[in-house]
C-alpha cells in the first residue's frame, strides 16, 4: 500500500480554495497568469500559496524572482518558504537548474510525494500552475487535489482556442468547476473571438512592459497586465 495517499487530504485541509491555472497548450502565458494571480491576491490581503506543477517547464520561480538561497524548511514535513508573501513550492528547489526527464509514473510519484510532505499554512487560495494539456499531472491533480476549480488561459489565436476547447470539454465531462477563461496577450488588432461555452472573465492585453518586470514582483504589480488581473481576482473573490 502506498502510505502517502491517505495523508494528502490532511495536508490540504488548511486551504480554503484551490485554483488550478491550466491551458490547452504551452506559450499562452499560463504561468505568468498563475504567478500574477498569486501576487495580486496576496497584495489584496489574502493568504496565498503557489504550487508549480509544470514539472517539465517550471517557470513561476523566474517570474517571482526566487533567489537561489531560498529553500523550504523541514518541520515534520516540508514547509514552503514565503516568497514576496506567497507560500511557494516547486520541484526546482530540488532539481535546481537540471532538466527533470520524468515519465508518467515518475510524474505521478513526484506529485504524490510533494502533496504528502508539503505542509501549507492557513491559506485562502492555493494557486496551482498546471502543465499544459491534459497529461498525467493534470489527471493526477484532478484526482488528488481537494475540489480544484480551474481557470483556463488561452490567447486570441485559433490554434490556442482549438486546444483549449478540448481541455474545457474534458473538465466539463468530469464536472470540474471552471471559474472562467482568461484571454491573454490580446492586441487591438485581434479579431478572433470564438465561443468556448465558458465565460471569458478576463482579457489581458499584450503588455510590452511585462518581460522586463518578470522577476521583480513590485514592478510586475505596476503593469497593465497586473491591473487587469486584479479585476479578475476581485470578480471571483465575490463569486
Amino acid at each position: 500500500m502506498d502510505p502517502r495517499l491517505a495523508i494528502i487530504a490532511e495536508r490540504l485541509k488548511s486551504i480554503k480554495k484551490i485554483i488550478a491555472v491550466a491551458a490547452g497548450k504551452g506559450g499562452v502565458g499560463k504561468s505568468t497568469v498563475a504567478t500574477g494571480l498569486a501576487l495580486v491576491l496576496s497584495k489584496m490581503g489574502y493568504k496565498v500559496g503557489l504550487l508549480d506543477l509544470d514539472f517539465y517547464g517550471p517557470s513561476t520561480h523566474v517570474i517571482l524572482g526566487l533567489s537561489e538561497e531560498i529553500q523550504p524548511t523541514e518541520e515534520r514535513g516540508i514547509v514552503p518558504p514565503k516568497v514576496h508573501g506567497i507560500e511557494f513550492m516547486s520541484l526546482v528547489f530540488y532539481t535546481r537548474k537540471n532538466p527533470a526527464p520524468l515519465r508518467g509514473p515518475d510524474l505521478t510519484n513526484a506529485l504524490i510525494e510533494l502533496l504528502a510532505i508539503t505542509r501549507w499554512g492557513e491559506l485562502d487560495f492555493l494557486i496551482v500552475d498546471m502543465p499544459p494539456g491534459m497529461g498525467d499531472t493534470t489527471l493526477d491533480a484532478i484526482r488528488l487535489l481537494k475540489n480544484p476549480s480551474f481557470l483556463v488561459v488561452t490567447t486570441p489565436s485559433r490554434v490556442a482556442y482549438e486546444t483549449v476547447s478540448r481541455l474545457i470539454a474534458l473538465l466539463s465531462e468530469l464536472s470540474i468547476p471552471i471559474l472562467g477563461v482568461i484571454e491573454n496577450m490580446r492586441r487591438p488588432s485581434d479579431r478572433v473571438r470564438l465561443s468556448l461555452g465558458v465565460r471569458v472573465i478576463g482579457e489581458l492585453p499584450f503588455d510590452e512592459e511585462l518581460e522586463d518586470a518578470l522577476g521583480d514582483p513590485e514592478r510586475f504589480l505596476q503593469t497593465e497586465f497586473a491591473r487587469r488581473l486584479r479585476e479578475v481576482a476581485s470578480a471571483f473573490k465575490e463569486s
Binding site: E74, A100, D106, N109, A110, E113, A116
Partner: protein, 135 residues
Amino acid sequence: MHEWALAEAVIATAKRAAREKKLRRITEITVKLGELQQIERTVFEFALEQILAQEDALVRHAKVVLETERARFRCRACHHEWAFETEHFAPEIAEAIHFVPEIAHAYVRCPSCRSPDFEVIAGRGVWLASLKGEE
C-alpha cells in the same frame, strides 16, 4: 524531520486499511524503506513511536517492523541494471533525492550509456508492506 510526514502517512494508511478489514486492533505493521529515499531509520522510528503514543486503541500498541529494500535501476535505453549508491552524490543532491526520489532523474545517468531514461525497479521509498491485527 521530513520523516515525520511519512510516518504520519504510514499510520493514517494502516488505520484506514484496518477499518476496511474491520480489524479491532492492529498488532503489526511492516514497512519497507526503499533505499533511494534514504530515510533516517532512527528518526523515522522515533516519529512512529511519538505518533503511535498519541493514537487510539486501534493502532497504539502496534509493533512496527522496518525492512530496508535495496534500490535498483534499469535503463530503458540499453537495459543495463545497477544499484543506487548514495556516496557518489554531493550532500545537497542526496538530500533532494531524499525529499522527492524522482529527482534522481535530474542527477543519475545510466552508468553504461549515460541515458536519463531509467526506471526505479526496486527500493523507491516508503511502502506499507503488510498489516496484522485482531478482528
